[in-house]
């Protein structure tokens, strides 16, 4: 039985992988995302500078090869190549961690609401509606008001804590339809309890749409984080994130446009690539739509 399940799952995933390979925008995007991630991981070790070291001999210099400030420096003489890559690390990390948090809450919430149904469902989804009616950023701002700012873990918890609403809705819809399928009824008849059915039968069958939406959640989370850091509510100095770098760059546009253009360029490329990747995955995992 296990074997048959594995083969079917393998078939589905192999199919999806094949379709994804034919999606040119998605494959190119995936390659770019991987390249950027790799660059963020190993890039800083090639530079002689650290993300917080000050080089008073080269303050606010434009990008050049001679002094190893490949992307120039900021007002304090900090190397922008290293800072941008460090910012990328933080942005990517927060994108992944916050997505994981929102995945955990959203899938649990949606699966329970959809499968248990009735009063529970109504109450749980009404809570989602209320949270939905507030701009998400307010909830993050409340959370950032009460917790110590600058703690990266609080930041991705806070962002993940607001990102799960759509996921919960999608999962609930899927769980509602799965509930009436024969294999779930068979499990009920066989005496499997509600938690067992959720873990063994509902959640594993949700993976397709969940993967697609999670991929589309990552750029959103990166965007939220940059947004907060831009406003000064996110990552704090001397750490950098793409948002805080853009903020510093925006103040220098008159004299040093590269300070804005470099982090902004990375952010935009990252966001666009993740979105294409999500679209490609959707087409690959859900061929019925096309």
């Amino acid at each position: 039985m296990n074997d048959a399940g594995a083969r079917v799952a393998g078939g589905l995933w192999a199919d999806a992988a094949r379709r994804l390979k034919h999606h040119r925008a998605a494959t190119i995007s995936a390659a770019i995302v991987l390249a950027i991630a790799l660059l963020a991981l190993v890039g800083p070790s090639f530079s002689p500078y650290r993300y917080d070291s000050l080089d008073w001999n080269h303050v606010a210099v434009p990008p050049q090869l001679a002094n190893a400030h490949w992307l120039g420096t900021d007002r304090l003489g900090r190397d922008l190549f290293v800072r941008t890559l460090h910012g990328l690390r933080i942005s990517l990390l927060i994108g992944l961690m916050a997505t994981a948090v929102s995945l955990l809450i959203g899938v649990t919430w949606g699966a329970v609401a959809g499968y248990v149904g009735g009063r529970t469902d109504e109450l749980m989804m009404r809570a989602v509606d209320v949270l939905y009616s507030l701009p998400y950023i307010f909830i993050v701002i409340i959370l950032m008001t009460i917790f110590t700012r600058g703690n990266v873990y609080v930041l991705f918890m806070a962002i993940g804590a607001v990102g799960w609403l759509t996921m919960a809705r999608i999962v609930r819809g899927q769980a509602l339809s799965l509930k009436r399928r024969e294999f779930v009824e068979a499990a009920v008849v066989a005496g499997v309890g509600t938690p067992g059915i959720l873990v063994r039968h509902i959640v594993p069958n949700l993976i397709g749409p969940v993967v697609v939406y999670a991929t589309l959640t990552i750029p959103q989370m990166i965007l939220y984080e940059s947004f907060l850091s831009f406003l000064g509510l996110g990552v704090q100095e001397p750490l950098a994130s793409l948002g805080s770098l853009i903020n510093l760059g925006a103040r220098e546009i008159e004299s040093a446009a590269w300070m804005l253009l470099v982090p902004a360029g990375f952010l935009v490329v990252l966001l666009v690539c993740f979105n294409f990747l999500g679209d490609g995955l959707r087409d690959a995992l859900d061929p019925r739509d096309h």
């Binding site: 509606d129 209320v130 009616s133 507030l134 701009p135 998400y136 950023i137 307010f138 701002i141 409340i142 959370l143 950032m144 008001t145 009460i146 917790f147 110590t148 700012r149 965007l223 940059s226 947004f227 831009f230 406003l231 000064g232 509510l233 948002g243 853009i246 903020n247 760059g249 925006a250 546009i253 008159e254 446009a257 804005l260 902004a264 952010l267 935009v268 966001l271 666009v272 979105n275």
Partner: protein, 307 residues
């Protein structure tokens, strides 16, 4: 229509109440107070400060007092802007923020709908591809990137418009912020309009209208436009939330004296009463706009009223 409106308004009040209560509880139950960061404050002084702002009372009393204040339109004193009440700060900034938001939404409709319709009418031509490409970029580019770039190009290189600042009654100062704020909304509206226009143009009633020999312009204006606006109208609710959020950034980028910076400053300073006041104002604003969008929708599409 009236019954629908009343039903819709009835759901608004509890939601607002939940928002007020929840944010009150979260903020008051959190560790740390607004006077924590002031170094080596003698305990007696801190106790006096807490007493002056009513922070030494039991939570229930504080909550009731806050609600009573709200009923009178009072948000309490700001903890950090010492000489101002939260109400005064909001009254100062709100006209600027409202003007900005309204301009952005209007701009999004006035520019986005025709662009989307044009793309649909010229489907699969260079015009269509161009508009769709711009829309993808408009959605992907965050406002804190677009704003500085626009300021750089139009403010510094071309020197056409002021880079930042605000002079009452001078629309020049509003143009760049409003465009920045509305760009993603324009893109989204154009996309929605294009998709629904394409669908409506294939509908039976359009074929009938054309078969009867009605002029093309009249077919588009009288028969195609209204049904294809429905998705746009239902997007107006989320669009308001988007504009409210975006205005925080745009006000920061362009140095506008709106309410957005109070929310940000309040969060940085842990100014509880200011953050709460802003959340309540923005929350009710968003709910109100959602309501207006829903009513508009039900007016355009009578089917939803009888759901």
């Amino acid at each position: 229509m009236l019954a629908y409106a009343i039903r819709r308004i009835a759901t608004l009040v509890p939601t607002l109440f939940v928002i007020i209560t929840l944010s009150f509880l979260i903020i008051r139950l959190a560790p740390g107070g607004p006077f924590d960061e002031e170094q080596s404050l003698p305990p007696a002084v801190k106790a006096n400060l807490d007493a002056a702002y009513g922070l030494d009372q039991p939570l229930a009393t504080q909550y009731l007092r806050y609600l009573r204040g709200l009923a009178h339109g009072e948000f309490g004193p700001s903890f950090k802007f010492r000489d101002f009440s939260v109400g005064e700060l909001i009254a100062q900034g709100l006209p600027v923020s409202l003007t900005l938001g309204l301009c952005a939404i209007l701009l999004a409709i006035v520019v986005g709908v025709p662009l989307g319709a044009l793309a649909a009418l010229r489907q699969n031509t260079a015009v269509d591809h161009g508009i769709r490409g711009i829309a993808v970029l408009g959605i992907a580019l965050p406002s804190f990137v677009v704003g500085p770039l626009l300021a750089l190009v139009f403010g510094l290189y071309l020197n056409w418009l002021p880079v930042a600042g605000w002079v009452r009654g001078e629309p020049r100062y509003l143009l760049l912020p409003a465009v920045t704020l509305s760009l993603p909304v324009i893109a989204y509206v154009a996309r929605l309009t294009r998709a629904s226009f394409l669908e409506v143009l294939r509908a039976n009633h359009i074929r009938t209208a054309r078969a009867k020999g009605i002029g093309e312009l009249r077919v588009l204006w009288r028969h195609a436009l209204r049904p294809s606006l429905l998705p746009v109208v239902s997007y107006l609710g989320p669009a308001t939330a988007f504009v409210v959020t975006g205005s925080l950034v745009v006000e920061t980028v362009f140095g506008l004296p709106g309410t957005g910076r109070y929310l940000v400053q309040g969060a940085i300073n842990r100014d509880y009463s200011l953050v709460m006041g802003m959340i309540i104002v923005y929350g009710s604003l968003t709910l109100l706009c959602n309501l207006v969008a829903d009513l508009l929708y039900s007016w355009l599409d009578p089917r939803v009223r009888h759901e």
